[in-house]
């Protein structure tokens, strides 16, 4: 028997766990590719030209998504467990951070 788990807190838990696992699987691969710069530079160049493919760009979007989700999931968890605030206070704080990220992100994109 499985109780219904489709509530936001449980989904946030699953998202945090799975994104963490996926990032942990990505990191060794990432370091291996970086190590090619020292061991096999021509193979690294071949790989870098492969990363120009649109499918790899899509995968990079997934990677940034995983990083963002894991970082904000971790901040959420720390706020939940370490700050004895009321629920509305936390919602306001999260909203403020969200808006700040949105505004500064837009500014950053314009600068770039």
């Amino acid at each position: 028997m499985r109780p219904a788990r489709a509530h936001p807190l449980w989904l946030a838990f699953v998202l945090h766990r799975t994104s963490g696992l996926a990032l942990a699987l990505f990191l060794p691969l990432h370091f291996w590719v970086l190590s090619l710069a020292l061991t096999q530079p021509e193979r690294l160049d071949a790989f870098l030209s492969f990363t120009e493919q649109p499918i790899v760009k899509l995968a990079e979007f997934g990677l940034v998504f995983l990083l963002a989700v894991h970082m904000f999931g971790g901040l959420r968890l720390m706020a939940l467990e370490w700050l004895p605030w009321s629920a509305p206070q936390k919602t306001l704080a999260a909203g403020a951070v969200g808006i700040a990220v949105l505004i500064s992100g837009t500014f950053f994109l314009q600068v770039v």
Binding site: W10, F13, E81, W82
Partner: protein, 262 residues
Amino acid sequence: MLASIPVRLWEHAAGWEAGLTQDTTVLEVSVWRGTALDGAYELFEVPAHENQTILDVVSWIQQYADASLTYRFACRVGMCGSCAMMVNDQPRWTCRTHVKKVLKDRRVRIGPLRNLPVIKDLAVDMDRFFDKWVAAGGAHVPSAGRGDPIPAVDPEESARVKASAGIECINCSICYAACDTVAGNPDYLGPAALQRAWTLLNDAKHDARAQILDAVSGTGGCHNCHSMGSCTVFCPNDLDPMSAIAGLKRETARGFFRRRGG
């Protein structure tokens, strides 16, 4: 006020008669029969009524269809915490769960509470649940005797507000059944026991507060909690065990650093 009483009685009688004579709607109720190791869901057809709780349905089956059905209840008004069961795979207090709220195509599935050993049918062995309650330091130790003056309790004081938040727990074990951490780790004390510990930790009238932090920071203690929040979502009394456990995590961490600092 007086004039309204006969009208209400008449309405009630008419509704009752309609219920007896026009029983065209039937609920298809699957009920777990047997123990956790050996058993199956058995289908019962139960007459539908306008006002009916899941406990009413279970009682109807026991009284009119199969007298050997085993289940547990006492107060029928959401105070005693003994009638909790899995309804459509969600833990619920059956005496306060209206059939209409959970019915899917006239069907409903009723099983014994999750995470506890099934004795028979819908009755589970609650020993483990209450043993953990005691293991978390949940038994009250008075700080004053009968002869002592009664200490004043300020309901607005910060610690008292924290203690008061959890005192309406009826020990129904719904949070314990909802918790995936309990399912994965049988030694985990669980939300109800830890919330009780947090309540007593903040209660000025409890004399064994120092022992609580030791009791809840061991192998099966509060740090096992992954803050999935199912306890808080499913608590029928709208309590918040997840935040209580977060409080214990903060206090045990503070105690740890204090000990290292001192």
